[in-house]
Symmetry: C2
Subunit: 346 residues, 2 copies
């Protein structure tokens, strides 16, 4: 019998319908990148990107020259533009804003084929510090309400280049997904004086069936109302609203956790395309005249990562309803990923 | 300069960023179905589906035998099950329900390769009457709050079979997208004593730039904050909340309108994969003890169809933010589709 499950964070229903997973055509292999020609993210091709904003590179090497380990550049095809003042206006019944924002790319390594799961823990920790640095920098800009960090891996996950990279988009509006979670967290806190994310983590630790891994700092779980097969959430155990100010030991532990999970996912699901999204609190601008409604909700938030392989297609049902049909029970996904043997040296 | 536009109906922001459309990789051709073997929807293969619930067939022919023009069957791999009573329960912090609902397939013609755009207007009108009949029937079931009708055309739009068909899912919860539109319509009506959809239609008729076609009964437009390139909305001009009770002349006009639009889309966008979704009011069950909050909002609704080709991929930005980046301005999409010359006899 299928089951409907309510996602308490996103306030939506998911149909967990495992029999439907037996359909022919489902969970098929998704398409590969075409044979590669020129890659603007490779070492030696630094001139093919806009000038770098930041890089981890040995002293003495010049910006936009080889030798770097990590490199941050503006997106060559930005969705939003950094120059100008915000201009909000009505247009009859509609509302518009000019497209002010930032769109950056973090090139995760100079190596064209290196998968995130194959990077060393030290390198991953450096990558996450670069995430923090860029988010902190962009969050100072008073035009931006939010800094969204995400990763598309593989063509069907929406990547346009195979070379591993992360994107950052700073927006003049708070994203809807974050706004919903902020309100849910506020309502829960008003009623119970507790964090809803902390409550979820506690229930998951007690139940155990949806846990994939747990360490001193992080818990990885297949969410109760997972929208997609093998969807995962990575939560810091300590309540903290802001990824950008997470201390070094937490960043280090995140590197260990993510390498482990990505390795399991790659082995178990045969190197699937995936998306990864950071959920962190919105920017706080301590200036009363410019105060943002969402500012007041920041401290009830609990930052986390969402990670999901793209194994199935979103179709009319999902677009029409805003709900999801998931053919893999999160309990089965968690068990499957727990049981994977990973081969690298921790 | 990109532009942020707010969708007043779904309460979300869309980034209209046309420069980004110049990226390599974008708007590529999406994958085709693999070579076909056996089709359970073809005439002669009636035994490959569950027994038919309804069919348009000549008098004297037997159910589940050839000769039909239109055929409705239960989905062989239903997302929800029709048998049983609803059982709602809490599970710690979570909420669940057993997966009661209905999942039906409307096989639109016996012909394996017939595209919706190539069906006669008389046949399309019959198809829409079958939609009405099935929605009316399912909406009587007091376990169901909503009857969702949608169509997936092509592999990348989520179809698992090439043979043209429509799906119906009756759900024990009101879909989120509908709930948002119902609340928006209610708020607008409380403030202005007018329908927000009617106001939008009026503004679009005045502005003209996003209109694709208009007739006595229907207006087709590229929505102001289109999430996808070439997204379209089809609105009846007369305020009416309920598709299932639309009169025959409206159904007839819808057939003419949809054939025209699908033909334009197929010629102009080279037979793209697409999704089509009906937005109609939730079921009303006039029984006070079982009354549904959404019941009270029904009459402010204005039914319509959403139609969008699947030319681009949804990636980390969309999943992370709940907002969208659209590389084709709706004004350009509308102009492009308006200018297509269609070859068939109206």
């Amino acid at each position: 019998m299928p089951e409907l499950r309510h996602d308490p964070l996103q306030k939506l229903w998911v149909i967990i319908s495992t029999e439907r997973g037996q359909r022919p055509m489902d969970m098929k292999k998704l398409e590969e990148f075409p044979e590669h020609e020129f890659c603007p993210f490779c070492a030696g091709n630094e001139n093919a990107t806009p000038a770098e904003l930041y890089a981890v590179r040995p002293e003495g090497t010049l910006p936009n020259s080889p030798g770097w380990e990590l490199r941050v550049v503006p997106n060559k095809y930005p969705a939003l533009r950094i120059e100008g003042e915000l201009d909000r206006r009505g247009r009859g019944i509609y509302d518009q804003m000019n497209g002010i924002g930032a769109h950056e790319v973090i090139i995760e390594s100079p190596d064209h084929d290196l998968h995130l799961a194959d990077m060393s823990i030290a390198h991953l920790a450096r990558l996450f510090s670069v995430y923090q640095r860029r988010i902190l920098d962009l969050s100072q800009d008073r035009r931006f309400k939010y800094v969204l960090l995400f990763k598309n891996h593989g063509l069907s996950a929406g990547a346009s280049l195979v070379h591993s990279h992360t994107q950052i988009v700073a927006t003049p509006v708070t994203p809807r997904t974050i706004a919903i979670e902020l309100e849910v967290a506020r309502q829960h806190h008003q009623l119970k004086e507790r964090c809803i994310f902390c409550d979820i983590i506690q229930q998951e630790l007690l139940e155990g069936s949806r846990l994939v891994s747990q360490g001193d700092e992080f818990v990885v779980l297949a969410p109760y109302a997972s929208r997609f097969p093998f969807e995962l959430a990575i939560y810091p155990r300590q309540h903290h609203y802001d990824f950008a100010s997470a201390p070094e030991n937490v960043i280090q532990a995140l590197a260990v956790t993510l390498k482990d999970i990505l390795s399991r996912m790659r082995i178990g699901l045969e190197n699937p395309p995936f998306n990864c999204v950071l959920h962190t609190a919105p920017n706080i601008h301590h200036e009363p005249r410019r105060s943002n409604y969402w500012d007041t909700l920041v401290y009830d938030f609990h930052w986390h990562l969402e990670l999901f392989p793209r194994l199935t297609r979103v179709a009319g049902f999902e677009w029409g309803s805003g709900y999801y049909i998931n053919t893999t029970a999160p309990e089965d996904a968690a068990r499957f990923l727990r049981e994977i043997q990973i081969g690298y040296d921790k």
